[in-house]
Symmetry: D2
Subunit: 230 residues, 4 copies
């Protein structure tokens, strides 16, 4: 299994079934701009403040995973993820923004962009209309996509890159461990509901749709970031 | 297929897997008392006012089915059921209660009994934690059980029975048509998620649990009714 | 009170607090194109097929209103609205599309546009994170805005307008009656939660935000329609 | 302010408005049996295994609080509570049960009692039908009631009490700190939605009802525990 399969053959299949969208997401101009340091800082900061709002609602979506957990494993991992997002990643964001001269109050006053709003609300609704696994399929592109991008950029990014701290966060051991934990959760949650041949399940198509739509919404999110740089 | 399979082999299997609970529900002392006219009217009225509160929350649960619908068929049938419950069955209840000297205000002032509360909230949570089919499995014992009881009592009830109007309601064509519509919905919703061999699905056990727990909560509801007769 | 206040002073205030967005919505180029018959049919049809998908999820949102109802009035009106949307308005849509040469299958195969997705999911999440009234504030711009647009266009539209049937639907008595029923619901639901001085309530700001965001998403929806005409 | 007001005048009022139920809960025979060491161990263990199932669903309810959070403070405290419950309190339970000879598997195989089921599902539905504050009012009796009971029993319990570890847990600093954090959350969440005179709010009655019903369900939970001792 490939390193960036994150211990999950199911994820590897979802990704393969969404190849062109996945590529548009993980090789977006924004990502290339992070890799070669060409991304205008204004675009990066626009992305960053929107991402803070994103994290608020994405944490809410993981709170929904706690609510919809049907096993102890699902409950435990979802709870740990919520706590990591809210009480570690979000404060880190506030700190990075502060270093860039953006106050916490400025963060709180930022208006949510449509591409931001549509993404998190879609994920939450995927969970509301479906079960834990539907929610997980919609949560996956963000979590594991950032893990894949981080790993790749760590290998290819230019030296003295302004965006090295961002890259290090997602290429780092903590984040990569989270990716593998989520990968294992995908496997167990899929097995618990679809058995050992998930591709043969009547629900396979729906799960792939949630994954693909969320992947497209990631593309929109990067594009929204770029727009802020003009 | 048996008439009271209501066009649904899946329902027939759920029922068979919950045999002793299903029997405790459909042949409860309360039901036998309706059949032979021996049920104290006080018990019946206690049941009736609680059932009005039940219908409020059971309608909310069908509203949740609308919210969780993933196909046009699911959306349409859930919507029609919500409307039938709220704008037809509930007013009928108010009328029957009025004839028994219970005012609409008395209905609204009634405190919800624990056995009543636990039933509807369990059904709603089955839908919240799972998907449309989990919700449907928890909704089924009430809808189809009443259809089965109505049909049987229509055949065996004593003459000049005080409870004939109740029996006629659930044995009547309108209600039986609803039962068959719900039976067909169980089939299509199951097929859409579990394929053509649902018993082989990893989720089969969970669905049977929702069905069985809801059946037991029906037993508790009848017992709560009986208690009101003392 | 103005006719297009639809019996609701609370609505009139929400609208006033969102004046520029409301104007952008109700006087959008798409709407002006309906009024003077200049809207390209391709744009109209693009709007129409997206609107069918919109109605699916908007009906789900009204199903959520049934689920979140806290009074009999709220339950009854939400149920009637769900049923009207699903079992009357949606079939009408299928019919209109068929007349324009768009088959039901083509409708079902249509991919949901981002502006469409973001709108309904936002409304549903407003209900999920808040209570019945938060949901209602997010549902209102669509329901009452179309009522206002219909009334105005009925008065000003050019003769022999291709879009007369659309205008007639929303200017017609049935739809206008629905608007007044929803207007009264806004009043009673607001009073039940915020008392008689809702503007003084701590929640007033949040309700106005839901109304304004949903209004902006309406603007995006029209723009999405226009885009289909190119 | 009284120590067991836990920094929350709003809680103190909810409690006062539910005096007789609160007293029935906090001075239940089960609690007296913990205090004077007279509670049969069989009753305690029955309570303990049921409480493990309770914690699963109560954690889900706090996950719902994360989902329904409308401010950073609400998000942060709900997330921390979820994590404390799931990744600290639940493992502690497994350990205590193991010491009493109850294996983790036995815990997982335990069937949920009706009094257990009704409680957590009611709390979850209070959150689903209402907003964050409705949910919080239904979560409060368990969290703060145990804090109050723990504090009192620590002062009055007999020496060499078998139940000292249980008492120490809830009288201990960690748990008492959680109680004060939840108390402050009640204050801020109430102020954010009902302003500075919450008792004057149209929603005050509903919040008191959620608090009172949850308190009564606590009484049922103790009684269920006692039953296991026969």
């Amino acid at each position: 299994m490939n390193l960036t399969d994150f211990s999950s053959p199911v994820f590897a299949q979802w990704r393969e079934n969404a190849t062109s969208d996945w590529s548009a997401y993980t090789h977006h101009a924004f990502v290339r701009g992070l890799a070669d340091d060409s991304l205008p800082q204004k675009a990066f900061l626009h992305y960053l403040v929107q991402d803070y709002i994103f994290l608020f609602h994405f944490s809410r979506a993981w709170g929904m995973a706690v609510l919809k957990a049907e096993s102890h494993e699902e409950l435990e991992l979802a709870s740990a993820t919520v706590n990591a997002l809210v009480n570690h990643e979000m404060p880190l964001h506030v700190e990075i923004c502060a270093q860039a001269g953006i106050s916490r109050q400025a963060l709180l006053d930022t208006e949510e962009e449509p591409e931001n709003l549509s993404y998190t609300r879609y994920v939450i609704d995927a969970g509301l209309s479906g079960d834990f696994l539907d929610l997980l399929a919609a949560l996956t592109p963000c979590v594991l996509g950032y893990g894949e991008i981080g790993t790749r950029l760590a290998a290819v990014a230019t030296k003295n890159n302004r965006y090295q701290p961002w890259i290090d966060t997602y290429a780092g051991k903590d984040y990569q461990d989270t990716c593998h934990a989520v990968g294992r959760l995908i496997e167990s949650s899929t097995r618990a509901r679809l058995g050992s041949s998930p591709q043969a399940s009547a629900r396979w198509k729906t799960l792939n749709r949630h994954f693909r739509v969320a992947t497209r919404l990631e593309v929109g999110f990067w594009s929204m970031g770029m727009r802020g740089g003009n």
